[in-house]
């Protein structure tokens, strides 16, 4: 169990990145959803112990790891949002080095384990190439390989699917799902699909504050009967934007389609009721935040 208590982080400026975040994260996969700049990475870094909070504390199984993050690092699998490797090492050498630094072993030995992990992230064929020659996606996969290594009690993955193609993303989803069976995995992302696929529970963060802690089903269920969808013309879309709460507007085969949130459940003219998605729920939550300034 991971407990975050009144975490505040103020950067010089001053910019308050976190405004007293408190959160209890049980075992299993937990999503942290929020737009860019909401404070997700700051929160992840603080939880991972690589950033000191201005105030507040992080408890892992009741132990405060804020002042002594080294207690956490021994059981942590961490994939930061932005990272690199020693460029002159090969992927295999880099991963082997990291496994050794993390103290990860397997009965077949560290080198063999590194090969297995590279295979899991589909990097085996590039194992002997230097990291400096890797593409962004390959680097990301190498990052994933090191993060999943060992038997971490806590995994923190910050925007893990950035740079991955759809197939790699799904491959990673499966790995994460397996890992989440017997540990806490925190997935920080701005991609709603990641949460929808993986997380039985998630929190929405906005401007350094948690605005919602819920499950995908509850989030969707809360909007039941309030979402309407249909094809509209350009002027109609402008009109809808002025008069209704448009959650999504997108093009399908060159035509505007729109999804509208209608709390009174009365369908706007020309739109038909539609099943609420997690993205609707997320966007409605964000809009409510915009309207009220604060939604908890």
């Amino acid at each position: 169990m991971l407990n975050l208590r009144r975490l505040v982080k103020v950067y010089p400026g001053p910019v308050t990145a976190l405004q007293g975040v408190s959160l209890d994260i049980p075992g299993g996969m937990f999503g942290l959803l929020g737009p860019n700049g909401a404070g997700k990475s700051t929160l992840m870094k603080i939880v991972a112990g690589v950033l000191e909070p201005t105030s507040g504390e992080v408890l892992l199984d009741g132990e405060n790891v804020t002042a002594h993050p080294e207690k956490l690092w021994a059981t942590l699998g961490y994939l930061p949002q932005d990272f690199g490797f020693y460029p002159h090492l090969t992927g295999e050498a880099m991963l082997t080095y990291l496994l050794e630094l993390k103290g990860v072993e397997s009965p077949q030995g560290t080198k063999h384990l590194a090969t297995e992990l590279l295979e899991r992230v589909n990097l085996l064929s590039a194992a002997k190439r230097k990291v400096k020659d890797y593409s962004g996606g390959m680097r990301q996969r190498l990052g994933i390989a090191q993060a999943i290594a060992g038997d971490p009690k806590l995994m923190i993955v910050d925007e893990p699917t950035a740079g991955l193609d759809p197939e790699e993303r799904h491959r990673f989803y499966r790995i994460l799902a397996e890992l989440a069976e017997n540990r806490t995995v925190i997935l920080s992302t701005h991609i709603v699909e990641d949460v929808a696929v993986l997380c039985p529970r998630f929190a929405v963060i906005r401007q350094g504050q948690l605005v919602s802690i819920t499950t995908p089903a509850d989030a969707r269920g809360g909007l039941a009967g309030t979402i309407f969808e249909g094809a509209v013309s350009g002027p109609e879309l402008d009109d809808l934007r002025r008069t209704r709460r448009v959650t999504q507007a997108y093009l399908v085969e060159g035509r505007n389609r729109v999804r509208v949130y209608q709390p009174d459940r009365i369908a706007p003219p020309g739109l038909a009721p539609a099943e609420a998605t997690l993205e609707d729920a997320y966007l409605v939550t964000m809009q409510q935040g915009d309207a009220t300034g604060r939604v908890a």
Binding site: P12, T54, T75
Partner: protein, 1191 residues
């Protein structure tokens, strides 16, 4: 190329550079140096002027002084900072990953590179302008009493011209080459090769290796290739003092060669940037292709088999955080791999080799004599450059190593790994240790090669292990920990560089300002003196405490580094929080236990210094002695020592001695003396008797005054008895060596001061330092008439009976002849008795073998056989020829005894010459400069000039000792080694005079008393030359006849001679008194020194002969007959070879006065190759090498 885009990049770079803390730290450092200079805390080169009150002072604001200042500021202020900031400009963008975006814009690689270079160059140009403004402000505007005499009128060109000529090319050179290296290689570490190379090559070669015998053409080339410009400035304008009036009023004439060389230095910077721009453009395009190719090779999309791979559980992974050692091994392994791929190391190794070989093979001693290097001297000599090099390497390698994770982006993962911070730092330190060990090995290889080339002394490993491993490595450990700690605290690459460089600069300041001591001397700069005989015995305790002190501080720094190493990102607000008193105290409290050892060791070290000869306690006692007794005892009549009977017990192992003895003291004054003042040292258990009766003196701060029961009438004597014991206490301030000492391996004691033996009378020089130093006494012109007291030693000839007890394996030598020697178990007692009166006595003891000569003996360390034959034959020759020329040697034996090279001097006590191992035993005896021969000759001459003829107190007295000793050496050199080596010796002392004289402080030899700047070279070098020219003028027979009667008339004479006595006496023997008077007037009563120049030299064949014409000008002073000759071929310096037939000369003698020009016409039966003024080196002159023209 778009100028607009280029300037856009330039503006961005300029703005970035000017906002860096390191830029402002650099300016602060420059400000501190300038302020230090104005306040007198920092001194640089220009030594012209007269430091006496009211004497002419050189302006700090002259163009010459400011040119020197600009060299210093450029090297200490600009080079490293410019290299760092310019060199890292392109690699930094690579780290920031801005390249792809920037180069996807219309910005071309040329615009980018030139924009970056322009920006950083403009920043340093601005820094130069600010520096000039700062110097003007401090030197011309700010009130400062220290600059009352050194502030000249304001001339803007004095500031601007040196800045443009000296600093601007250096800045352009450093910015351009470092920028080029950075842009070409994109590896930060390579950027630092250049400034380190510059510092080493300039500091240890261009600026310092200027032997007088160097071929002027080679010297000129070195002047032009020195990128700092200092060698040219020094050799052309400063080395030979032209006087304050010249420096204060004239402008530097920058000759065209030098201007072109400065232009070339600047162009190298530009060319580097051009090359870098081309290379950058090419690699930018090729790297794009590589990216495409790489992407094409990306692994295929996952197939079904991959998706069907077993779950992670199947891997049965276990994780346990590595312990400290495992983490350390892992990090060290990775760091070493990184190092192996670092090209920097491969560049530094040849640099180190070149430096070491240069230092070893070009090492010069006194009189520019090439030194004979041994393993120990090499280990110590190379230590300063090694620690400097290592300190700089470590700053750059350590910071790059610590920055590596951040620069590669790996820190995001690395910081959250379960590896102990200590393991990380220790692992990185190991890689640095490999850098250090590689540097040491490269240096060792250099030393081994140097010794093999030298081929005289065998290579020993032990001294290298002792000096480099035991003494140097703690410095390396300390510096590494220090750099780690700085980085951990400031968490910034550039600020770490700046703090480290400022620390090095401050350490240098402490050293060069004389404020350094054992406590502060972490790199042991200037603190070590190697002696094969006495290995670090003199300050051993201080040395051990120093190393332990700094090692314990290294632990403190390491603790700080681990505590604050930035594995967790901190920001300003976190830092402010961390600085809250409570949190600060918690942090400090954690450090307190680590501070116990440094505090204890530092305190113990401080106490050692305090108790030592330079310590505050010793200074206080000396100052009390001066304050208490000055008014009462200065010039008070005192009795003289007539007989010494002493039993001296030496215990070298404990550095202790005890004395039991008597002095017979005689009243040689004309008044009755009721009190006898005796100056005593730091002794214990003192007991005194007067005529056998116990006596208790008045103790006036180490001046013991005995009141006699029966006052001493003129001619009466009293027997003073004494017993005491002493221990040589404490340590020197910063390993400065010692002239007199008692050490486990050797003993040197003299009667010239009160350190070892009671000294009759009050000593005016004790307790005098810069704070209370008075101007010297002014003597009337006829002060020498009547009785003149002696300049040193007893006023009466005395007898000495000395029984010395020392360890049985010691040989203890003193004045006179050995009467007996008796071994009693572990000790040996040797009795010495003077077979002829002496004026002073000394004791020297050590473990010796002896080489006996003809009435001579040379006691030397068994390992130092290299020059024994040369020295022994010189000693024999000295005794023989001086005895024939001046007076028979009155004692039975003349001996030399070697002492450890913790001090570099020799001293000619009667019969018993003390001789440092460093001044002749370990030098190369080469015809052009033969230190072993000339020092033996000089010190032996003191048996006649100094002992038999004891000079009088007052101006010019010492000239009869030192000047005559040099004159005697010149004669002996020519007699034994041949005329050509005699000429070489005269050239050596001539250039010493030219380079050491202070023309404004120089007075006539008759008035030279040793108190003014540059008096030393007058007493020795000019004195020797002048006596030699007099000998040449008078003719050998007449001159020797005069000298013989001069010595005879002053032997045991209470009236001691000065130069005026000599001039009067020798006149009787002059064959041409008019010429003699003219000579004496010029050279003894005036200050003259000719300087000749030839111009319009032409040579044409006339029949079977050649006629050469030239214009000869004396741009110096004085009127002397001087030969001008045309020559062909070279003369051999080897006395075994007669003058080679290929050398031919024809000349004419011209008498030419100051500022006169004369036409010279020379007929020769051969085609001349050159025209030379004074080919046989008969007239003392300045810049002899310029008085020669090739045809």
């Amino acid at each position: 190329m778009s100028i607009r885009r280029l300037m856009l990049v330039a503006r961005q770079e300029l703005s970035y550079t000017c906002r860096r803390p390191s830029f402002w730290i650099m300016l602060a450092l420059i400000g501190l140096i300038v302020w230090g200079l104005s306040s007198g805390n920092v001194r640089i080169g220009l030594t012209s002027g007269d430091s006496s009150v009211g004497g002419k002072k050189a302006f700090l604001t002259s163009e010459f002084a400011l040119a020197q200042l600009m060299v210093v500021l450029s090297f200490l202020g600009f080079t490293f900072f410019a290299a760092v900031m310019a060199g890292l400009s392109v690699p930094r963008d690579l780290e920031w990953k801005t390249g792809e975006i920037l180069h996807a814009t219309p910005l071309t690689s040329g615009e980018y590179i030139w924009g970056k270079f322009t920006g950083v160059f403009l920043a340093f140009l601005a820094a130069l302008v600010l520096t000039v403004g700062l110097v003007i402000l401090i030197f011309q505007v700010m009130p400062n009493s220290n600059m009352l005499e050194t502030r000249g009128p304001f001339h803007l060109h004095n500031y601007v011209v040196p800045a443009v000529t000296i600093s601007l090319p250096i800045i352009m050179f450093t910015c351009g080459t470092s920028f080029g290296v950075g842009a070409w290689t994109r590896k930060p570490i390579l950027v630092f090769v250049l400034p380190i190379m510059l510092l080493l090559v300039c500091g240890f070669f261009f600026w310092s290796w200027t032997p007088a015998w160097l071929d002027p053409r080679i010297d000129r080339i070195l002047m032009l290739v020195d990128p700092s410009g200092f060698r040219w400035l020094n050799q052309t304008w400063l080395k030979v003092d032209r006087g304050v009036d010249f420096y204060n009023t004239q402008r530097v004439v920058w000759d065209s060669g030098f201007v072109w060389s400065r232009f070339g230095v600047a162009v190298i910077g530009i060319v580097s940037t051009v090359l870098a721009a081309g290379h950058f453009g090419r690699t930018l395009k090729s790297s794009g292709k590589v990216t495409v190719a790489r992407r094409a090779a990306e692994p295929p999309a996952p197939g079904m088999e991959a998706q069907a791979a077993p779950g992670l559980a199947a891997l049965r992974m276990r994780a346990a955080a590595p312990n400290f050692w495992r983490g350390f091994r892992l990090v060290a392994g990775a760091e070493l791999k990184e190092l192996r791929s670092s090209p920097g190391l491969y560049l530094f190794i040849p640099l180190i080799l070149q430096q070491t070989l240069g230092n070893a093979l070009l090492a010069l001693g006194a009189f520019d004599t090439p030194l004979l290097v041994t393993s120990g001297t090499l280990a110590v000599r190379s230590m300063s450059s090694l620690i400097t090099l290592l300190a700089l390497l470590i700053v750059f390698y350590a910071v790059e190593s610590l920055e590596r994770e951040r620069a590669t982006g790996f820190s995001a993962i690395h910081d959250a790994l379960p590896v102990h911070t200590g393991s990380i730092l220790a692992g990185k330190a190991v890689a640095l240790a490999v850098v250090a060990v590689t540097a040491l090995l490269a240096t060792f290889v250099g030393c081994a090669i140097a010794m093999a080339i030298q081929g005289r002394v065998g290579l020993e490993l032990k001294p290298f292990l002792l000096v480099w491993v035991v003494l140097l490595l703690p410095g390396f450990v300390l510096w590494t920990c220090f750099v780690f700690a700085i980085y951990a605290i400031v968490k910034n690459r550039y600020t770490t560089y700046s703090v480290a460089l400022v620390t090095l600069a401050f350490t240098s300041y402490l050293l060069f300002s004389g404020k350094m001591n054992w406590v502060g001397n972490w790199p042991l700069w200037g603190a070590l003196r190697w002696s094969d005989i006495s290995v670090f015995e003199i300050d051993r305790t201080a040395l051990i405490l120093n190393r332990l002190f700094w090692l314990s501080l290294a632990l403190v720094f390491l603790r700080m580094a681990i505590r604050w190493f930035p594995r967790r990102a901190l920001d300003t607000i976190s830092t402010i929080h961390a600085l809250q008193p409570a949190r600060l105290w918690r942090s400090a409290r954690g450090l307190l236990p680590w501070l116990v050892a440094p505090l204890f060791l530092g305190g113990a070290l401080w106490r050692q210094i305090d108790r030592g000869p330079d310590g505050a306690r010793t200074k206080k006692i000396a100052k009390d002695y001066w304050r208490k007794n000055l008014a009462t005892w200065t010039d008070a009549p005192a009795p003289a020592l007539a007989d010494v009977d002493m039993a001296l017990d030496l215990n070298p192992r404990d550095r202790a001695w005890s004395v039991k003895g008597t002095y017979i003291i005689v009243n040689k004054e004309t008044v009755v003396l009721s009190k006898v003042p005796i100056t005593v040292g730091f002794w214990n258990d003192m007991r005194w008797t007067i005529n056998g009766q116990p006596s208790v003196p008045d103790t006036l701060s180490h001046l013991y005054v005995f009141t006699l029961a029966k006052p001493l009438a003129p001619g009466d004597s009293v027997r003073l008895g004494f017993t005491y014991n002493g221990v040589q206490p404490g340590a020197t301030k910063n390993g400065g060596g010692a002239g007199e000492f008692i050490l486990p391996s050797g003993v040197v004691m003299t009667s010239f001061g009160p350190r070892w033996f009671p000294f009759i009378g009050y000593l005016e020089e004790i307790g005098v330092d810069d704070e209370n130093r008075a101007e010297p006494k002014q003597y009337p012109d006829d002060f020498y008439k009547g009785i003149t007291p002696p300049a040193f030693g007893s006023a009466l000839p005395m007898t000495v009976h000395m029984a010395i007890t020392a360890p049985a394996d010691f040989t203890a030598n003193s004045v006179g002849e050995r009467i007996s020697e008796e071994v009693n178990g572990a000790t040996k007692t040797t009795v010495w008795h003077t077979d002829h009166p002496v004026m002073a006595f000394n004791v020297i003891a050590g473990r010796y073998v002896v080489k006996k000569g003809e009435g001579t003996a040379l006691y030397y360390n068994a390992a130092h056989t290299y020059n024994v034959a040369e020295m022994s034959s010189a000693l024999d020759a000295a005794r023989k020829y001086y005895g024939e020329w001046f007076a028979p040697f009155p004692w039975r034996e003349l001996k030399i005894s070697e002492f450890p090279g913790i001090s570099t001097y020799a001293q000619g006590f009667p019969t018993n010459i003390t001789f440092s191992e460093s001044i002749g035993f370990l030098t190369k005896s080469e015809p052009k400069t033969n230190l072993a021969f000339l020092v033996v000759a000089h010190e032996s001459a003191h048996q006649w000039w100094g002992n038999m003829l004891q000079p009088g107190r007052g101006p010019s007295g010492n000239l009869l000792s030192e000047g005559m000793a040099h004159f005697s050496t010149a004669l002996l050199m020519a007699q034994v080694k041949g005329q050509l080596q005699g000429m070489e010796f005269r050239k050596r002392i001539e250039s010493r005079y030219a380079e050491s004289r202070h023309s404004d402080a120089e007075r006539s030899l008759l008035k030279t008393d040793g108190s003014h700047d540059g008096d030393g070279t007058l007493l020795y070098d000019k004195g020797g030359w002048t006596f030699w020219m007099l000998w040449n003028l008078m003719g050998s027979e007449q001159n020797f006849a005069g000298l013989r009667t001069f010595i005879a008339s002053h032997l045991n004479n209470p009236d001691h001679a000065v130069l005026a006595d000599f001039v009067e006496h020798m006149r009787q023997y002059a064959p041409d008194t008019a010429a003699y008077d003219a000579y004496a007037k010029q050279w003894f009563a005036s200050v003259v020194v000719p300087e000749y120049r030839l111009s319009e030299v032409r040579s044409v064949p006339i029949g079977s002969e050649w006629e050469t014409t030239a214009r000869l000008e004396n741009i110096g002073t004085g009127r002397m007959p001087v030969e001008v000759a045309v020559t062909q071929g070279e003369r051999s310096l080897n006395p075994a070879e007669p003058v080679k037939v290929t050398y031919r000369a024809s000349g004419v003698t011209v008498v030419i006065g100051s500022k006169e020009i004369k036409e010279v016409r020379i007929r020769s039966p051969f085609k001349p190759a050159r025209v030379v003024v004074d080919p046989d080196v008969k007239v003392l002159q300045l810049r002899r090498t310029l008085a020669e023209n090739k045809l």
